[in-house]
């Protein structure tokens, strides 16, 4: 276990008695029905790289939005350079010397680097844009921090690493002394990560403070001077990267108080329902986002796909559903090669789908529930008769789903947007189950739903599995993965790097595999 709440001593960069660059005391932030942050304590010294680590959904982003003034905390204090501040907007945070580099770049592609940097705080002389002054300052920033910017290059011609440096320059241009980097390495390839870390070292040398949000523990250990771990909305400890192992960090991040996975009888049968052989997808360019994935799902088997988000799980799901063309490999459904099949043909062939983003992919929010019942099942009874929609049957079947799956809504004519996330998800699960699929692809089936709905959905998946349904379960919830899966694959950088037995693996071990801290040559 890492040293909880014992700030590691002896940083060469700043004496301990200097005022902290940023200090958060007892920050609590509530949203309707959920506490996103609770009693957060964060102490960032001037001139250090301070990592904030935690799982997806642990509350890192909410915390950083609080610090950047995007919303106000319900309780607690924010101190910058020892003085208490109150940010009403990001403009206030910028004025206080805090800048944020977002995970998703916010650059205008058809503008030059220079134009992007000055956008929003353009230097003027006599009311006219003073490009010479802007160029002088940008060149100065670029030289001082070795960013290597070319002010006149068009942003659309730049690579990801260069774009990120433009984002950093944008923040520096506004005289930020503390930079928040939200998952900066998520979009970078390893060489670019090295370059970024070199840039961070330059920033640190110039006395700037960097808050580095990440869940990639090996990177955090390389770059950070100190680490704060967040779990389930609250700070659970701090750690010194030089004395803490990745394994200890992973344990701190995942927590050891998780319930032990339940023992149960296996319902796995012999017949495979889904086989993926050497499936490879690229991101439009050359980089493979899913790399030579081979896996088999049998009847009555839940195959869990664990992994830190953005390691190719979403693309793997797209490959199964036929939403993206494969670069290589094949997908077999019940022994039949469906690689060339359309999404509709696959659905008709018995694939149910609980998509990751129910608002964008799973529902028509402005349409009534009975139309949402039809969505994805436009070619099959009961809601469809020949080329026509059977409105009465659709309404009746929607009412049945609402009854059997406990969807709380006034009636089938209610608009989907009126339902809570849990009820929307129960409707989706009910809809997909009603078509009696052979294979169910469930991507984050309980994300963003309340505890009651979560239990209901878990029960439904277990029952369906017992009846012989094959399930691909992609999730970021380790309890869910361990509790439901019969076989557990870990996905890292597009590859299946480990196959684990969910009855034996602990969440800490799983977390280790997910972040690449543990490796295996096929542990199962």
């Amino acid at each position: 276990m890492a040293s909880a709440d014992s700030p590691a001593a002896g940083h060469g960069t700043a004496p301990d008695d200097a005022p902290l660059a940023v200090e958060l005391r007892g920050i609590t932030k509530r949203f309707p029905g959920v506490v996103a942050n609770k009693d957060i304590e964060l102490r960032v010294r001037r001139g250090e790289v301070h990592a904030v680590v935690g799982e997806n959904g642990a509350g890192k982003s909410t915390l950083m939005k609080t610090l950047y003034g995007e919303h106000r905390p319900d309780e607690g204090q924010i101190l910058v350079d020892g003085r208490e501040v109150s940010f009403r907007s990001p403009a206030d945070a910028i004025a206080a010397g805090i800048g944020m580099v977002h995970q998703h770049f916010m650059l205008a592609d058809n503008f030059t680097v220079l134009e992007n940097i000055v956008l929003g705080s353009e230097p003027t002389r006599a009311g006219r844009l003073d490009l010479a002054e802007a160029r002088r300052r940008i060149t100065d920033i670029s030289d001082r921090y070795s960013l290597g910017l070319r002010p006149d290059a068009l942003v659309e011609d730049l690579g990801v690493g260069d774009r990120q440096r433009v984002e950093i320059a944008k923040v520096l241009y506004r005289d930020a002394r503390t930079l928040i980097l939200d998952e900066p390495t998520a979009v970078l390839v390893p060489q670019e990560v090295d370059e970024l870390f070199a840039n961070l070292a330059e920033l640190k040398r110039e006395g700037l403070t960097v808050i580095f949000i990440s869940h990639k523990l090996d990177e955090v250990r390389r770059v950070a001077d100190s680490i704060t771990v967040i779990r389930r909305g609250t700070t659970v400890g701090t750690a010194d990267p030089r004395t803490t192992t990745v394994r200890q960090l992973a344990e701190l991040m995942v927590g050891a108080e998780l319930p032990s996975p339940e023992v149960r009888t296996s319902t796995v049968r012999e017949t495979p329902v889904l086989q993926m052989v050497g499936v490879t997808l690229t991101d439009g360019g050359q980089r493979p986002v899913v790399d030579e994935v081979t896996l088999t799902v049998r009847e009555g088997e839940v195959v869990g796909i664990a992994g830190v988000e953005g390691n190719g799980q979403a693309e793997l799901v797209d490959a199964i559903m036929g939403l993206r063309p494969l670069a290589a490999g094949s997908v077999l459904l019940g022994g039949e090669d469906v690689t060339g099949w359309s999404t509709r043909a696959r659905r008709e062939g018995g694939v149910g789908f609980i998509p990751e983003d129910r608002h964008r992919q799973g529902m028509l929010l402005d349409a009534p529930l009975w139309e949402n019942r039809i969505l994805g099942h436009q070619t099959r009874p009961p809601a469809v008769r020949g080329p026509f929609i059977d409105r009465r049957a659709a309404r009746a079947d929607t009412a049945r789903i609402m009854r059997e799956y406990d969807v709380r809504a006034p009636g089938p004519d209610t608009l989907a947007v009126a339902l809570s996330g849990g009820n929307q998800q129960k409707l989706i699960v009910g809809r997909e189950m009603s078509a009696a699929p052979r294979l169910l692809v469930a991507a984050h089936p309980t994300r963003g739903v309340d505890v009651g709905a979560q239990a209901v959905i878990w029960e439904l998946l277990k029952d369906a599995r017992a009846e012989g349904l094959g399930i691909v379960l992609v999730s970021a919830d380790l309890d869910e993965l361990i509790g439901l899966s019969d076989t557990l694959h870990v996905m890292l950088r597009g590859r299946l790097v480990a196959t684990l037995d969910p009855r034996r693996v602990t969440p800490e071990e799983l977390g280790g595999y997910m972040t690449g801290a543990r490796t295996t040559a096929g542990a199962a």
Binding site: F31, P32, G33, V34, A36, N37, N56, G57, G59, K60, T62, G233, D318, M321, L323, S342, T343, R344, A345, R346, R347, E348, P355, D357, R360, Q361, G362, L364, L365, D366, A367, E371, I374, L375, G376, H377, Q378, T379, P387, F388, I389, R408, A409, P410, D413, T414, V417, A418, S420, G421, G422, N423, Q424, R447, G448, V449, D450, V451, A453, Q454
Partner: protein, 403 residues
């Protein structure tokens, strides 16, 4: 039942509000140019003194409403799946001139002759619109740009055809036209029906094409609301990403929808062509494609709404002449139509938000189910993002359905 009434009320709220706002603005404008708004509106609603005058006025309104209705339908079919077919103007011009030429060139027994003309018009319109669809799915060209460009090409091409290969009028005539369609290719008027109903016979004939328009309207309504195809189309319009995941082939849908839209657009010129003009010429009714956009907006892309909107626009158009007789500038009509379009865009959005909010309230009171837990502590997903989604998403390009 009360829910139904409320939804109906909400869907009527936008257009009614828009028309009222437009009337107020127009009244101010009329007053500013030194005329009496009350007098102007009185002239506009005055259909005539004698019964035969009144029937005549109504026939003029209906005859104008038929092409407007078809134009609105053509635009609306594309609207419903999030496509902006700005090219209806060019589609119907191309369709009308070629249909007129074919109709004048052949001699067939009555119904077949008309049928041939209708089919030619629909095919030409569909092909012209299909170009837009194919460009979009193969090259990613925005349908707005390509359909506007094709309008220019269509108008130029029609002028060339009219003055060149398809000219039927005598050389040197002030109005250039195609050859006249013979009697067998014309659609008889419905005046017999009017007199049978005991109404006075009007001076001009009520277009027989009114029946065709009603049939097309019903077919479109059934297609959109009751068929699988219509469901796919509407689903793509509501959420391209969800439609793709549900198995809709977005690219195919773009082409099919443009073909249907263009096919309907091909019919727009036929009421005038087969009911009163019998040839296509330099004086042929122009601008119906653009008015169709306004009509579709005002009618909220539903066939019944478009019918009402078409009637309203036709009613306003009819008032142009009486206004001039009363020494009031007839451009008052154009001002009213313009402000209606502006107001309806705003009012529709206001009404949509109201509907959304009332739906959310209805849902919130129904289920005691607090959406607890969330990704990164985001607020429960029922609330805030409902109003922010962009409705004008352009389906069909694989990038945006997968992002």
């Amino acid at each position: 039942m009360t829910g139904l009434v409320r939804r109906l009320g909400l869907s009527l709220l936008g257009p009614v509000l828009a028309v009222l706002v437009a009337l107020v603005i127009s009244a101010v404008v009329i007053a500013l140019i030194g005329e009496d708004p009350v007098e102007a509106f009185r002239v506009m609603v005055d259909l005539g003194d004698s019964p035969s005058q009144q029937v005549q006025s109504i026939v003029v309104v209906l005859n104008r409403a038929v092409p407007l209705f078809l134009a609105g339908l053509a635009v609306a079919v594309a609207f419903r799946m999030g496509l902006f077919n700005i090219g209806v103007e060019g589609q119907y011009r191309m369709a009308t001139i070629l249909a007129a030429a074919v109709g004048a060139a052949v001699a067939l027994p009555g119904p077949l002759h008309v049928l041939l003309i209708v089919v030619v018009a629909m095919v030409v319109g569909a092909v012209w619109a299909g170009i837009v669809g194919v460009l979009k799915v193969t090259r990613g060209v925005s349908e707005v740009i390509s359909s506007i460009m094709l309008n220019f090409i269509a108008l130029g091409l029609a002028s060339f055809l009219l003055t060149g290969p398809l000219r039927g009028s005598a050389p040197g005539a002030s109005i250039v036209t195609t050859s006249e369609i013979p009697e067998s290719g014309r659609v008889p008027s419905l005046n017999g029906l009017l007199t049978a109903l005991g109404l006075a016979a009007p001076r001009s004939g009520l277009y027989g094409f009114l029946v065709v328009a009603v049939v097309v309207g019903v077919v479109v309504a059934v297609l959109l609301q009751r068929t699988r195809f219509g469901f796919d189309l509407r689903a793509t319009g509501l959420s391209p990403s969800a439609a793709t995941v549900s198995g809709v082939d977005a690219r195919g849908m773009v082409v099919k929808t443009m073909l249907i839209s263009g096919g309907i657009a091909g019919l727009i010129g036929l009421p005038d062509l087969l009911g009163s003009q019998y040839d296509y010429g330099t004086e042929f009714t122009a601008g119906l494609g653009f008015l169709g956009i306004a009509v579709a907006l005002l009618g909220r892309s539903s066939p019944v709404g478009i019918a009402l909107a078409g009637l309203l626009f036709a009613f306003l158009d009819r008032a142009a002449l009486p206004l001039q007789f009363a020494d009031i500038p007839s451009s008052v009509v154009t001002i009213i139509q313009g402000t209606i379009v502006l107001a309806v865009v705003i009012a529709n959005e206001v009404a949509r938000r109201l509907a959304l909010r009332s739906a959310e309230r209805a849902g919130a009171s129904a289920g005691p189910d607090p959406g607890a837990g969330g990704d990164d502590g985001a607020p429960p997903p029922t609330g805030p993002d409902g109003g922010q989604r962009v409705r004008t998403g352009v389906p069909g390009t694989p990038e945006d359905v997968q992002a």
